[in-house]
Symmetry: C2
Subunit: 310 residues, 2 copies
Amino acid sequence: MIPFEITILGTGSALPTSQRYHTAHVLNVRERFFLIDCGEGTQNQMRKYGVKFSRIEHIFISHLHGDHYFGLIGLITSYLLLGRKTDLHIYSHSMLPDLLKPQIDMMGDELSYKIIWHPLNFKRSEIILDNKVVKVMSIPVQHRFPCCAFLFTEAPSDLNVRKEQLEKYQVPLTQIYNIKKGADYIDQNQQVIPNSELTLPAMKQRSYAFCTDTAFMPELSELFENVDLLYHEATFDKTNQKRAAETYHSTAHQAAQMAKMSNAGHLLIGHFSSRYKNIDKLLNEAREVFENCTAANEGMVIQIPQKRLV
Amino acid sequence: MIPFEITILGTGSALPTSQRYHTAHVLNVRERFFLIDCGEGTQNQMRKYGVKFSRIEHIFISHLHGDHYFGLIGLITSYLLLGRKTDLHIYSHSMLPDLLKPQIDMMGDELSYKIIWHPLNFKRSEIILDNKVVKVMSIPVQHRFPCCAFLFTEAPSDLNVRKEQLEKYQVPLTQIYNIKKGADYIDQNQQVIPNSELTLPAMKQRSYAFCTDTAFMPELSELFENVDLLYHEATFDKTNQKRAAETYHSTAHQAAQMAKMSNAGHLLIGHFSSRYKNIDKLLNEAREVFENCTAANEGMVIQIPQKRLV
């Protein structure tokens, strides 16, 4: 199956525990790899869980609290040691290059690869990447420091052709590329054969929303509408809703409300406060509102299957 | 038993592997805690192995390659989140505060505690700390970046008094403090009772040498003479001696030579290149020269027992 797969590397909030690492998710879209947040220890976690470390080309950093970016300098260093040549694109607050500059300068050698820094816009949502496999939108959220959620939408797949129909209409090979892209076929008699007769229904474009470190923002549900997988932070349980609001975090209940309002396919909660030794309480709270909910764990892999549109 | 105990948190060299973390050792001397190097993930490893995280007062950073200090910013941040009040002493190259300054400044809040930076001297050995429990000497070594080894020597213990002798000579309670410190007792008749008649032989002062990221330096053996535990880097095996010399690292064979020349009690090797999936080769190589050798592993705890001088 063509992958659209999320690997969870860290699920804790600011204070790490013996079980939970800081935030980092890896998204594999058709064997292209995207890292979302990069807390301390991310490179170790990638090794541990067999992530294709060297193939990450784009890194998205939601905000500049340490638990979301302290692993970046180690990763940048390891890529240098490994002689990386491929450009590395980093999407973050514009301050990040300055924060890391003294340490990068200290490495002594020139970097063997180029880092291309992309400053995020914290005023409005923007398409920050649109390539062959995925479109990424940054979405400002409400936290103590400027912070963005990210919505990843798979690029449209080529259509699968129906061989028996190609034979029936004697479609020449030269036309197949266009037909896979959605074109109709016009035969020698100028008769139009609509694309729908030549191909199977398209595959649904899969999507993943990563939404961490934010107060509850019901207005985001429009942007997340029908997302296949919503990752939403659930730092606290609902008895700590006041604390959540004060610190610009969300409760498990609120994460589930967001999933429900967005009509998400599946909710994944994480970024758990270190006060919860056992997160069943948070999971149960979320499931009361939105049944199809999973609590994130280090090493968890979630595959979103392809479906045909009907 | 009064502890003099080393906990190993990371044993890898520059590139982390799925099994090995970056360098960090914790030394517990009589329940005072000292951190030596602080690679990425050190705070996670401390949690994992139950190290008394908050009680570390002194951190020693051998040099400014990332695998020896990238975990420091996370630790500094966690101490802030935990409301630490106790001063934190950091011994390192004088550039370290500047490297971390942009990130520390970014934390927004004032730190709840004071960081006291102690620049290391890379020209000659120095006593950098001498308190109630330990004396620490920094020892310049030869690496691509200025680097120090550290020698930890336990402070002399109070002597144990022999109760039957105190009774025999009718020593008043007010004199016991001085006798435990080594004083003779002069009785009412001006007769001198030598301390050795009143106390058991003293405990040997235990010692630990931490020597990482260095070319082989036979001249160090004088400074390490009779050390109880020598940790010496063994990045390579002896077939890679040329590579070791070029990169200012040591082989397992050289680490063992150092232990032998120093008359160390026990050798611990670590900082293994990621090329060695199995480090038996390195361990066997070292044991050929110095039998009492252990290969470091994450979570390993080495207790140095107290012994009386005869």
